[in-house]
């Protein structure tokens, strides 16, 4: 019997010939990623009593959650992280001028086929887009890896998602992922590894694939994997990573899957996740006309250059509704520079939008655009939980950059088609 991607990579990393779902393996991850919470992890690390960091090369830190610091507490937090980095000689450190951690991990070439990366952030699953095995862990576990270099992982069962056909012009990867989450639910892939496969995958860019991998945790998944292909190799090459610098691990053709889910891409229409859960999904059509107060384009889900280009295409020559605040957060400084060079910011500003610095912004309710009671926000982010954007009496809808831009223009939820 063949093996799934998760079974193959976890066996390899554990130094075993083969493993089975349910088995617990102890592995040394290639990297352990953390962000602003590195200060708290440092506190736990100190309490363990380890005298040194087991492997400083394994530690990867990106400050992104509340950057620049919104108040003294956040500032002190960042200061502690910088002190840790200095003291223990952590080279893989990116300060507040770099971007959202998951985008940075991908851009800087840490995420590669065959790598095992864990991170004290649930959206660490994003790196599956490049053929890595990556998953979120807790703070204590991150501290434990700093001290010991290793972690235990349970070998998951695997769900195979098969994309058939082709997306219509008005539908996107985000719409497809929201549709899938709505279909199987917030626990539809609980504890499971997900492999995104099928003819339809070829059409998805790396940016698109990151959307799927990033949001696979919203259906409970442990990781969301795309088998590396020409698009992956091309992307890696563009990052200066050549063949031989990564290890392509593919599932066997006769691998055993817990479940196979088929999605016909030609049937996907623009979707939204309605308040207050990500699996509360409906076609945009159903909530058309819902008044909005804020529109957010950015985050680790949809803050890439492709997303900003798509939004600007809609914003160009139009005006944001005067009752709406449009906030744009490029996912990284590299995306920011590229958008600047392409003249995209000028068009956003002319439309009446605001361009913010790269970072998580208000996605987790810390700063830079939190909501007031009764307000409605449409966002390209990955979560719409109650209180997520800082106010438990606010309402968050999730959608594609295209739908968010169109809604910002209209002042109410609508699809791009509705602007015509």
């Amino acid at each position: 019997m063949g093996k799934t991607f998760a079974e193959k990579i976890l066996a390899k990393k554990a130094g075993k010939d083969s493993v089975v779902p349910g088995e617990i393996v102890v592995v040394k991850p290639d990297y352990v990623m953390s962000h602003d919470n590195s200060a708290a992890i440092y506190g736990k690390f100190k309490s363990i009593g380890a005298e040194k960091v087991y492997n400083p090369e394994q530690v990867l830190i990106v400050l992104d959650h509340c950057v620049p610091a919104a108040n003294e507490k956040y500032a002190t937090n960042h200061k502690t992280v910088r002190e840790f980095v200095e003291k223990y000689g952590i080279k893989n450190f990116y300060d507040i001028n770099t971007g959202v951690c998951h985008q940075v991990v991908i851009e800087k070439g840490y995420a590669r086929p065959g790598r095992l990366i864990v991170g004290s952030d649930s959206h660490t699953v994003s790196y599956g887009a490049l053929g890595a095995f990556s998953c979120g862990i807790g703070r204590s576990e991150a501290a434990a890896i700093w001290a010991t270099g290793e972690i235990w992982l349970k070998v998951p069962q695997t769900i195979k998602v098969v994309f058939k056909g082709k997306l219509n012009e008005n539908a996107t990867a985000k719409d497809t992922m929201l549709y899938l989450i709505g279909k199987i639910g917030a626990d539809g892939a609980l504890y499971k590894s997900v492999e995104f496969t099928g003819e339809g995958v070829k059409e998805f860019s790396i940016a698109d694939r990151i959307v799927f991998s990033n949001m696979s945790v919203e259906m409970g998944a442990k990781n969301g994997y795309f088998a590396p292909d020409e698009k992956t190799y091309e992307y890696l090459k563009s990052r200066g990573i050549s063949e031989g610098e990564y290890d392509v691990i593919l599932p066997d053709e006769d691998a055993e899957y817990e479940q196979v889910i088929e999605i016909d891409l030609s049937e996907i229409k623009p979707q939204v996740a309605k308040p207050h859960t990500v699996d509360n999904v409906a076609p945009v059509e159903e909530v058309k006309g819902t008044k909005i107060h804020q529109a957010l384009i950015g985050t680790c889900t949809n803050g890439r250059i492709e997303d900003i280009r798509a939004a600007v295409k809609i914003l160009e020559g139009r005006k944001v509704n005067p009752k709406v605040r449009l906030l744009v957060f490029p996912a990284s400084m590299e995306v920011y520079m590229q958008a600047l060079k392409e003249g995209l910011f000028e068009k956003i500003l002319e439309a009446g939008g605001i361009v913010m610095n790269p970072g998580c912004g208000p996605c987790l309710g810390a700063h830079e655009g939190v909501l007031a009671p009764g307000e409605v926000c449409i966002s390209t982010a990955n979560r719409n939980f109650k209180g997520r954007m800082g106010c438990k009496e606010a309402f968050i809808y999730l959608a594609s950059p295209e739908t968010v831009a169109a809604s910002a223009i209209k002042g109410e939820i609508c699809s791009v088609e509705d602007l015509k």
Partner: protein
């Protein structure tokens, strides 16, 4: 012992809001905000030894460990649910919080139920009826027995 009963998909944002994740560092302070956006009465009435009973996918969403920490420091040592989100489940183990996955018992439990937990046997007795739950994997049992991952490692490093 009181029972707090909740539904499906209780997420970490309503257990411990993101706006506090970098401003509150003391676990007892965290406990004052436990389940704040789900059930504001929880912190007002919770006492040591109370139990949380919930539906499927408890603790979904963010990886924030404070979601487990705040519940533990509020006095709850046991959560019984139909299923747990994977990172939250790990965080429970690492915090020394017993997360019992027992889907068949959840709907039988009411606020007035009598619950007895036989940890050694992986069994629950609810209103006189016995239920088994899957044992904690052998490999991680040491972590729970030591009261969580940090105390577990402290022991290890002390030994050298």
């Amino acid at each position: 012992m009181k029972i707090f009963k909740y539904g499906d998909d209780v997420n970490t944002d309503v257990i411990f809001p993101g706006k506090y994740t970098y401003t509150i560092t003391d676990p007892y302070e965290m406990a004052k905000h436990a389940l704040e956006d789900l059930d504001p009465d929880f912190v007002k009435t919770v006492e040591k030894g109370d139990i949380i009973v919930a539906g499927k996918n408890f603790g979904c969403g963010s990886s924030r460990e404070q979601a487990a920490t705040c519940i533990k420091y509020a006095g709850v040592d046991v959560i019984i649910a139909k299923s747990f989100s994977r990172i939250f489940y790990r965080n429970c183990i690492n915090s020394g919080l017993l997360a019992i996955e027992c889907p068949e018992v959840v709907d039988k439990i009411t606020k007035d139920s009598k619950i007895e937990i036989k940890r050694e046997e992986n069994k629950l007795i609810v209103d006189g009826v016995e239920y088994s739950y899957p044992p904690i994997p052998e490999a991680v049992r040491d972590i729970i027995d030591d009261g969580g991952l940090i105390p577990h490692l402290q022991k290890k490093f002390k030994k050298g």
